[in-house]
Symmetry: C2
């Protein structure tokens, strides 16, 4: 049997980049950096570890540490790929499990070497695939949500029909619609999928209906399969509620083969502090790509949430930059977007985005507003 | 078929208490309060909802709003139980899904009415049950972790044997041990469970071994069952990595019937800001109880993390106060606790706690340190 004095790991390393808050003293930053390397791997006083192999091969290694500003440092840690195993849950734990609880450390970037990256299929469709699903129009894709909560399946289906006739590419359930007594999952999904299919037949459209399959652990897969069988064209998933790996399992399920929109419910705290948690690019971009989302919904600047334009720009970079050989995904600016802002959204996000407008489509005539939405996005 | 003009919900409501940051103007706080009621339910401009029934029965209702301090308010919102469905994922979404992304709103408490609470079994063992599992000693329970990462299953099993002989009640895997190539889950769990059983036979002890079953969505249940079959006496789960509901599913699995320790990896951001996210009592106490944990590990004041004594006290209240008819659970202060602090931990947390000491047990003679740990906790 192996023993830990003779570990023989591959030497392959993944790297995590953190921003650290520390007093301006270089020594304090160095001590914090080394403490992070220990905390995220052996979580054990290093002076009590006799095995040289564990020091050399298991404990994270400080690759770089440099001052960004007084009291702020950038730290790059290299971790052995074997510590991450072949599991997204453990990869996230390795990158930011315990240190999520420590103040003043933020995960701002990561890189996976090919051997580790090969374990993640990532987005099945990605940016180009999802655009192709929608007929690859020469404009951003357009999305809206079925709501409000309280409407019946038949009423939501009628709404879905009108939105599909209006030329919306992606019609998702509101993420608050699950399987409530007043709007059961099965009839909602069946009726809405039928309504969208009817609209597509009538006008030759490519509209896809994406039900919300966020559900208890034991029911997620069944709901997704039921959605597929009912004719859904994609899935809405809240990884903050079900866990990133549960979303990955849906993305990797060949029997489903449906594009996935990730919704950020219950994930807000991760990005709330500028010097703790996760950078927007990591949470919305890199983690969602590892977990197989094809598009990432986020509250855009200028809506009823609070992200800045700079944060949104960084997020888009996380969704689209080369990363672990995974497909880029589409950013979905949302959260109180309005028809009269489509022009500036288009200018900011460009064609490779999904513009999501909810309530504002319902001010006045829905069909006319859909036509305005399409026209503004095509401009 | 039902229609939304004739919703007939039960009128039963759950309540959520939030702390809000707002300008001192009462009107701004009232507007924020109403916006939260809308955001968390219909997520739709209320003036565009024609159905009186949705206004009356679906949209959250402000039950109370009062100033706590200049610019800080306490808000109580009542939500219809039907909006939460019968799903922990949706209950959490209803309480704090979208507003997790808004700055300046913190979920500090919740109450479920009996009809909704009846849908949650909660902790299978709870405080008294878990104590009984360990022979109900007249002292806090004692816990430690198998580490460091890099040791082989046989080495960890040898360590588990010595710790069990030393009288530690609960021996858990380090939460970074999953199913890595250098320490596979199956042999680790088998050998460690055997080692603890052998120690128990030799000295008549009640020590339990709790492997870390945090795993990809499709493997969690299988690992837990494998652990049970191998003789594990409980499970360690990181709900921040697998989702709260996945932990609940393990707790509710009658074929397992094992106590669960919840570990806070990747949950730190939820409590990081004093005026956003979740109160410690909610995250570590109420949510873990809804999700079936029997004990809640957290970084205690005075360790290498940053919670204050006041936060720890509030957390213990959330773990133990009457809530939804669910069993109280044991707080597990951890995160760099030391033998020389057992006295003050005992004084602070009392007998109804699990004291977790990791690395410090290994400074010098392990057996002597275990004896010191038992003696100090018994004092």
């Amino acid at each position: 049997m192996q023993d830990s004095t003779r570990l023989a790991l591959s030497g392959e390393r993944l790297t995590a980049t953190y921003h650290l808050r520390a007093s301006a003293a270089e020594a304090e930053a160095e001590a914090r950096a080394r403490a992070i390397c220990v905390e995220q791997t052996v979580e054990f006083p290093p002076e009590l570890i006799a095995e040289v192999a564990i020091h050399d091969q298991v404990i994270g290694e400080v690759r770089a540490l440099r001052a960004l500003a007084p009291g702020r440092f950038e730290l790059v840690v290299a971790y052995p790929v074997e510590a991450a195993g072949a599991e997204l849950t453990q990869l996230i734990n390795l990158l930011f499990g315990n240190i999520s609880i420590q103040p003043g450390v933020r995960l701002v970037d990561l890189e996976l070497p090919p051997g580790l990256a090969a374990g993640y299929r990532g987005p099945r469709f990605g940016r180009e695939g999802l655009r192709a699903c929608c007929g690859d129009p020469a404009r951003p894709l357009l999305c809206t949500a079925l709501k409000p909560m309280g409407r019946s399946p038949a009423e939501l289906a009628e709404l879905a029909y009108r939105l599909a006739r209006g030329g919306i590419d992606l019609i998702k359930d509101d993420h608050g619609l699950t399987d409530q007594s007043f709007c059961r999952f099965e009839p909602r999904v069946r009726l809405c999928a039928e309504a969208v299919a009817r609209a597509n037949r009538e006008c030759g459209g490519h509209t896809r209906y994406l039900p919300n399959v966020t559900a208890p652990a034991g029911e997620l897969r069944a709901r997704a399969r039921l959605a597929r069988a009912a004719g859904a064209g994609g899935l809405l998933v809240c990884p903050g509620l079900v866990g990133f790996d549960a979303m990955r399992a849906l993305a990797d399920d060949d029997a489903l083969g449906l594009p996935i929109l990730a919704h950020p419910a219950f994930q807000g705290a991760h990005c709330a502090s500028p010097d703790g948690g996760l950078a927007h690019a990591v949470l919305y971009g890199l983690f969602n790509r590892l977990a197989g989302a094809d598009a990432t919904i986020f509250p855009s600047w200028g809506g009823r949430f609070a992200y800045t334009a700079e944060e949104c720009r960084a997020l888009v970079a996380g969704a689209s930059r080369p990363f672990a050989g995974l497909r880029p995904i589409l950013p979905v600016p949302a959260g109180g977007m309005r028809l009269d802002r489509v022009g500036e959204l288009l200018e900011f996000y460009g064609r490779d985005a999904i513009l999501l407008i909810g309530g504002d489509l319902h001010r006045g005539d829905l069909s006319a507003n859909c036509a305005r939405f399409v026209a503004a996005a095509t401009a």
